[in-house]
Symmetry: C2
Subunit: 250 residues, 2 copies
């Protein structure tokens, strides 16, 4: 049995809380939230605390707070030489105050409130400053996910940046598409099979083979028809930037 | 029983061929391909032809060829006053030569070779120049899809443009992401749960509520970390263009 304490109450913390609570191999010892009134529901065996002085001895502390608060939180810990991991994708292990043994526990997924996720399919990227700590980290990560990978700090930054491209930017394109639909009295639902198939396709095909549309065909007649339709400067800029890039890459 | 003849041998034509062959309510009378050596496998009851003079009487002719060839193909038909539909998303119904009754039969999906699709879930957008033709078009579309919608020419152009945003541009972002992975000795498979969840999320949440990441949080420290990591001018341009747009919309 491995004992874990979780710090934070945001989206990542809440999803981790739920996954860790469900894992039979893990005892979720304590959950720290700054404001106890905003505390999530906890399992009976887990203690809610709001004072760092009350942190009990655990095998692993996971700090799931905003990037800018990680160092400060780790400095507030009233102990030393324990294993402390953060969940930030773009930060190295050494943002954890050096009085403790720093580590990274980065679940690569997009977390929204009220959205149920199957944690077992979420890749967890782990890294430890001291190789001897890898065993505990593997144990905790393996208790909630079937896809645990060792990823160093520079690779993790690469992954975090890539996630912006394949998730945040993609979702924004959905939003722009939704807006074009609304402006043309079209139901956004009509695009959902296309959105799902576009994602499903690259589960099997590489993105190069999966590409379709006017840019990869160099069909400038259609491209100009789209640009004329769009009118709006911002949309035209996005359309041209991505169309030029598709042409360059194909 | 409605009799349909299909013209073309590209991706859309091949997927339509397979769906129409499987529909009990449809007789696929003839398939026209310019080069019979490149002809797809046909059901026993369907005739392969390569000469427009051999086109037999059908209730509906579907022209699934490249946009630029549609008008020419429709001019080559040796008959008049029959119902002729094209499958192009960005073209009005009147690109069909006026000696026949023009229509649109636009399946809103991304079609790749060797990729099996469930046609019943693909929205088919239909339009006819003569409202009296709507009945036949509905019958054929309804035989292969559960989602048939009347969409006029300007709405269809809006949809086709939107499809570029939510499919072609999205797939290109996958490709750029794959490349960042390769350059950093990372396995692209690690991103697949994120890609799938990003698409699955907007099946239920609207894209505005689904947005996560540094741009929507206005986390410029992380954004600058990503830009510094990217280095490459093209990637930085795409990153900035989409980040600025997310900030503007949120």
């Amino acid at each position: 049995m491995v004992q874990v304490t979780l710090i934070g109450s945001g989206n990542v913390a809440r999803h981790l809380l739920s996954a860790l609570s469900d894992a039979p191999e893990v005892t979720l010892l304590q959950v720290f939230v700054r404001n106890p009134e905003k505390a999530p529901k906890l399992p009976a065996e887990t203690e809610l605390i709001s004072d760092f002085e009350r942190l009990a001895a655990a095998d692993l502390y996971i700090i799931a707070v905003s990037d800018s608060a990680i160092t400060e939180v780790s400095k507030s810990f009233p102990f030393s030489d324990r294993l402390v991991a953060h969940t930030a994708g773009s930060l190295p292990v050494n943002v954890i105050d050096s009085k403790n043994r720093g580590a990274s526990f980065y679940p690569l997924q997009t977390f929204s409130k009220n959205r149920k996720l199957d944690f077992s399919a979420i890749p967890i990227c782990i890294e430890t400053a001291d190789p001897a700590d890898m065993k505990i980290l593997r144990e905790v990560a393996g208790a909630i996910s079937n896809d645990v990978r060792e990823v160093n700090s520079s690779q993790r930054l690469a992954l975090h940046t890539t996630a912006v491209f394949v998730c945040n930017f993609v979702n924004h394109l959905y939003r722009l598409g939704e807006n074009i639909c609304t402006e043309n009295q079209l139901d956004f639902n009509i695009l959902k099979p296309l959105i799902l198939e576009t994602a499903s396709k690259v589960m099997e095909l590489d993105p190069k083979s999966a590409q379709t549309g006017p840019a990869v065909r160099r069909d400038d007649v259609t491209i100009n028809r789209h640009l004329e339709f769009l009118k709006d400067d911002e949309l035209i800029k996005i359309y041209n930037t991505l169309t030029d890039s598709i042409k360059k890459w194909n």
